[in-house]
Amino acid sequence: MLAFQFINHQMKQARRSTIWQKSLALNMLLIFVAFILLAEAIGLSLLLAFHWHEITKESEVLTSFYQLAAWYFVGSFVIRFFMQQLPALEIRHYQSLPIKKSALIHFMLIKGKFNFFTLISLILFTPFAFKQVGYYEGTAAAWIWLAGMMFFDLTINYLVIWLKKLMVTNLKTVSVILGLIGLLALGEYLGWYVYSELFADFITAMMENKILWLIPVFTFMLVYLINYRFLRNKLYLEELSKAKTDKAAGSQFGYLQRYGMIGEIMLLDIKLYLRNKRTKSILFLAPIFLAYGLIFYPNEDYSRDGGFMIFIGIFISGFLMLNYLQYAFANEGSYWDLIISSRIPKRQYVRAKLITGSTVVVISWFLTLPYLYFGQSILIINTATALFNIGILAPVSLYFASYNKKALVLSKGSAFNYQGTSSMHWLITLPAFALPILIYMPFKWFGNPEIGMLTLGGIGMLGLLFRPAFAKMIENNLEDRKYQMAEGFREKN
């Protein structure tokens, strides 16, 4: 009865949130992506189920699959740790009502069981269980095997929930976790121990002695209980919401204040990025995007003068800048009234944003200089695209930033968080990547990729030359749209 009430409220919350109602296009896109992922998972699971005995080169068909599963669980743990959102039932509304604490916690935890990752695991393991395990060990064993694997999966699920509640995601915890995983892999690589074989031996032992299957069940129950106890002890408003006072990061950039109002605005944006959860998690992602080139640049299969390289170049030096400038105003949505009623001249405000965006590109370009290792052509690509990012894409994204009328809620992480984004975001992002490729490709087709690069960089320089004119346009547009923006920003979701 109570559970139905909770489910009802949760559904209403989801359906009535403004983002769901307003950006239908974005939601369609998300559903589409989820659909593709699920279809791919189903395809992969069928492939594994019907062809694993051909794919694997080992004679022990099942054991080799268990070894694969061992690493699947590790990968699942990592992805969940970074991507999975904590199950949160907005508990505040219910705490003053005569509802048992335990009911609230159980509901919150059980809700966390139903998520995308668990579904993927279920899809991946089910066909294999009946096709392969069933073939070698019998259908009854297949059922038990599948149940066991799912209990492993749920154990990881709750382990992640507990760890994430226990620790804050910061540079330290991230490096500790990545370090431990790296050690696990290194140990196997160097042959100190073989984690995947140990895991496979364990599963094999369980297949022989069915009573051992109780182990995953018990570990699952243990982790669930730990979660329950942890939350039960924490179920006081103050501890759940703000257990600790935030640290005032970013004061080391105080020297920016010497550059007058522009410096003040830049400093404010740096603090905004360092002190809010959502922007902070984007900063954590930034190094990963800088390293994106490592996948493509070393590989000679990708043509060095192809349009795809332009895409990579724009992406590497522009990712953070595009994110920053597109949401330059929406990030400040919670205090927009202060900005527009203050004496900050719009001109300086716009200039500060453009300078910060350009600085981010320059820093990214500088950090990616080591790509020179893969050849001079990479440096040319990175330089031309960085110039294009600074000269053209920076002012264009800031111009369209004023069409973002939803304030971003900065207190939530960025993974899977589409609050405040709209189809507008995609309308800008796609041309941002298409435009430079369109400029470059004709030159390549006529056999002059070098001139194409030169043109791309040249257009970027030209854009930089015309920046005052661009800034003026952005300023006028901002002046025109400030009421609409203010109205949108005042609407809290």
């Binding site: 005032a248 205090y335 009234d337 202060l338 009623s341 203050s342 009421y483 203010a486």
Partner: protein, 231 residues
């Protein structure tokens, strides 16, 4: 000093504000009272050019607020939490707001020193970000920031809300002192009839977006207001 002409604002067909003419003189603290939805905040937002008027204009010292930005140098304001930058510490916030108002670091320090009594030791030097402050202390931060930089006019929307009783009387004292020593004219809205009768020289009652009463504060103002709002 402030002249409002034929000002109208409506949301989806409902008129929320309709003022034919209203002028506010320098040195006369101006109070705004009215039940929820009477249009107090809408009036203040129009005054600060935060929303677009459907019709009419607000003139501050000869300048239409929607067409010029000069008036911003003569006006300080705190309407709601939309004026606070919650990820800054109060010190950083005062510094930022002070700089936008052209104050030097020394000016800002001197100003904060003069506010110590109002802050009651709960705002500065606590090593907390504004989002970790209590509602009352956030309110104090916003009110103080509005008074920075020697403005001619200070606009405050429900400043007495969430302040503790001691701070409420300190705010009354502070407003009176600022009016006398610095010549600041305050525009204040409130539901607190006692306090508003105490600090304002003139009180306008709004009802459904229109001026219902315009009272010069005197001995019996509080009684008049109480009688007006009694059910």
């Amino acid at each position: 000093m402030i002249q409002i002409n034929d000002l109208k604002k409506s949301y989806s067909g409902t008129t929320v504000l309709n003022i034919t003419a209203l002028s506010i003189e320098k040195g006369v603290n101006f109070g705004l009272v009215g039940n929820n939805g009477a249009g107090k905040t809408t009036l203040f937002r129009l005054l600060l050019d935060l929303i677009r008027a459907d019709q009419g204009e607000v003139i501050i010292n000869g300048k239409n607020v929607a067409k010029s930005e000069d008036w911003k140098h003569q006006l300080g304001s705190y309407l709601d939490q939309g004026f606070l930058i919650d990820f800054l510490s109060p010190e950083e916030y005062f510094n930022f707001v002070g700089k936008t108002k052209g104050m030097s670091t020394g000016d800002i320090e001197a100003f904060l020193e003069s506010m110590q009594e109002f802050f009651n030791g709960e705002v500065l030097g606590r090593k907390k970000l504004i989002r970790n402050l209590s509602m009352g202390n956030q309110q104090k931060t916003g009110i103080a920031a509005a008074m920075m930089g020697n403005p001619e006019i200070v606009v405050l929307d429900e400043p007495f809300n969430s302040l503790d009783p001691t701070t409420q009387s300190r705010l009354v004292k502070l407003i009176k002192k600022m009016q006398e020593t610095k010549g600041i004219t305050f525009l204040i809205s409130s539901h607190d009839l006692n306090h508003i009768a105490e600090v304002c020289d003139r009180i306008v009652v709004l009802h459904e977006g229109e001026v219902a009463q315009d009272i010069i504060t005197g001995q019996d103002t509080l009684e008049t207001l109480k009688a007006y709002f009694a059910v």
